[in-house]
């Protein structure tokens, strides 16, 4: 229902606000389905970072969406047919929670029953994501890195006089600055908690990277761009992103050197379970570093541009 309103309103700002609400609702739905990790990511990325990024790009462009020139019959038909096809496919899919569904027959039992013994992780999602599906997660990390590369190529980070106007020209928000100063250490500590607690509860490298980046984005928003860039230099961010991917890949290479397959963490230590722990820890660290620097990089690149009047 909210999605319909999002499409209906032509004022882009209201669209952004409502899509923030929409992703909050979606995350609540995921919580209800007991998919905590997904809800966690949706909350951090969908509600937080996406809103901030869309707002900063909205600042660069015009506020109101242009009226579409073509008629809306053809797009409606395409969407309708696609939707009908999806619903038809969903009819064929097994019932929700059906134990005999193919998904539950193939690899899921093995993940559920043996991940405790083989990986030794209380949080199954982390075990599956980082260990069994290590290749996929590596691919995702590289995709994120590539996204950062594309943004850098297209926008670049503006230097010198191209800074966004300092906020002092508008007004000083003293209360905000004090509270933000108090809050940022809390946010960073919470980010670390999520990073290293991912083995046991919800969380992991991806979410921790987003939380860390959120902390710095908050600093930027409260104190202005110049100070934020003094704290963490944009020149270092691409290197950090590359470092994250290298950590991930390096773990894989080390396990090759130790005579096992790529990204087989059992090779990292004498005890296979301990090796798995170590591998997942390092890999999550790599993912976290990459995600953090990439998000901050994109934020800097978009928010640092000058508005075209």
């Amino acid at each position: 229902m909210i999605a319909i309103a999002v499409i209906r309103i032509r004022d882009l700002f209201a669209v952004i606000m409502l899509s923030g609400i929409y992703s909050l609702t979606t995350a609540a739905l995921f919580m209800d389905l007991d998919a905590v990790d997904v809800a966690f990511t949706e909350a951090a990325v969908g509600a937080g970072v996406t809103t901030v990024l869309m707002l900063s790009s909205l600042y660069l462009t015009r506020r109101f969406e242009a009226k579409p020139k073509h008629g809306n019959v053809l797009p409606l038909m395409v969407v309708g047919i696609t939707g009908a096809a999806l619903i038809y496919a969903a009819l064929d899919a097994p019932l929700f929670g059906d134990a005999s569904a193919p998904v539950h027959q193939h690899v899921a039992p093995r993940y559920i029953q043996q991940s405790q013994a083989e990986v030794g992780m209380p949080n199954m999602v982390t075990a599956v994501l980082a260990s069994y599906r290590g290749y996929d997660t590596f691919g995702e990390t590289v995709v994120i890195f590539t996204a950062a590369l594309a943004v850098m190529l297209l926008l670049g980070i503006q230097k010198g006089s191209e800074y966004r106007p300092p906020f002092n020209s508008v007004d000083d928000q003293i209360i905000l600055k004090v509270v933000v100063k108090l809050l940022i250490p809390l946010i960073l500590i919470y980010g670390l908690y999520v990073q290293f607690h991912g083995d046991f509860g919800a969380g992991g490298g991806f979410q921790a990277g987003v939380i860390f980046a959120t902390g710095f984005v908050l600093y930027d928003l409260a104190f202005g761009q110049k100070q934020a860039r003094t704290v963490i230099s944009p020149a270092w961010l691409p290197r950090l992103a590359a470092l994250g991917v290298l950590i991930y890949g390096g773990v894989g290479v080390v396990s090759i050197l130790n005579g096992k397959a790529f990204l087989d963490y059992s090779a990292l230590s004498q005890d296979p379970v301990h090796g798995q722990h170590l591998g997942i820890l390092l890999v999550e660290l790599g993912v976290g570093v990459t995600v953090f620097s990439v998000i901050l990089l994109i934020f800097f690149a978009i928010s640092g541009r000058k508005r075209k009047t």
Binding site: A5, F13, A14, M17, L18, G20, I21, L24, A27, A28, M31, D34, V36, A39, F40, A43, A44, A47, G48, T51, V52, L55, S56, L58, Y59, R164, P165, F167, S169, V170, D171, L176, V180, L183, I187, Y190, V194, G201, A202, G203, Q207, I211, T214, V217, L218, L221, A222, R307, T309
Partner: protein
């Protein structure tokens, strides 16, 4: 009793949502979205306890942070837009006076 509290939070969420849809100005929408976010934190904390979800408090904590950051971002956006408008107006005034 916890059910009553959850119901109260839900009702408030719906009221805030109506305000977000109506919202005569952008500031009203922003306020409603912020209120909605706070209520979501409450809903997750209370509902998660009532339905004994798994590690719900992490998500609630994250929401509380993200909500704040989002609100601040929106607020800064308005300030900057207002400042840009003022600058534009000042420029045009100077042009006409010259």
């Amino acid at each position: 009793m916890i059910v009553a509290a959850i119901l109260a939070v839900l009702v408030t969420m719906i009221l805030a949502l109506i305000r977000a849809f109506m919202g005569p100005t952008e500031y009203d929408r922003m306020l409603a979205a912020n209120s909605f976010g706070t209520k979501t934190v409450l809903l997750i904390a209370l509902g998660g306890y009532a339905l004994s979800w798994h590690s719900f408090l992490d998500v609630a904590l994250l929401y509380a942070m993200v909500n704040f950051v989002g609100t601040i971002a929106v607020m800064r956006f308005f300030e900057l837009s207002a400042a840009a408008e003022q600058n534009k107006q000042a420029d045009t005034q100077e042009d006409t006076s010259l």
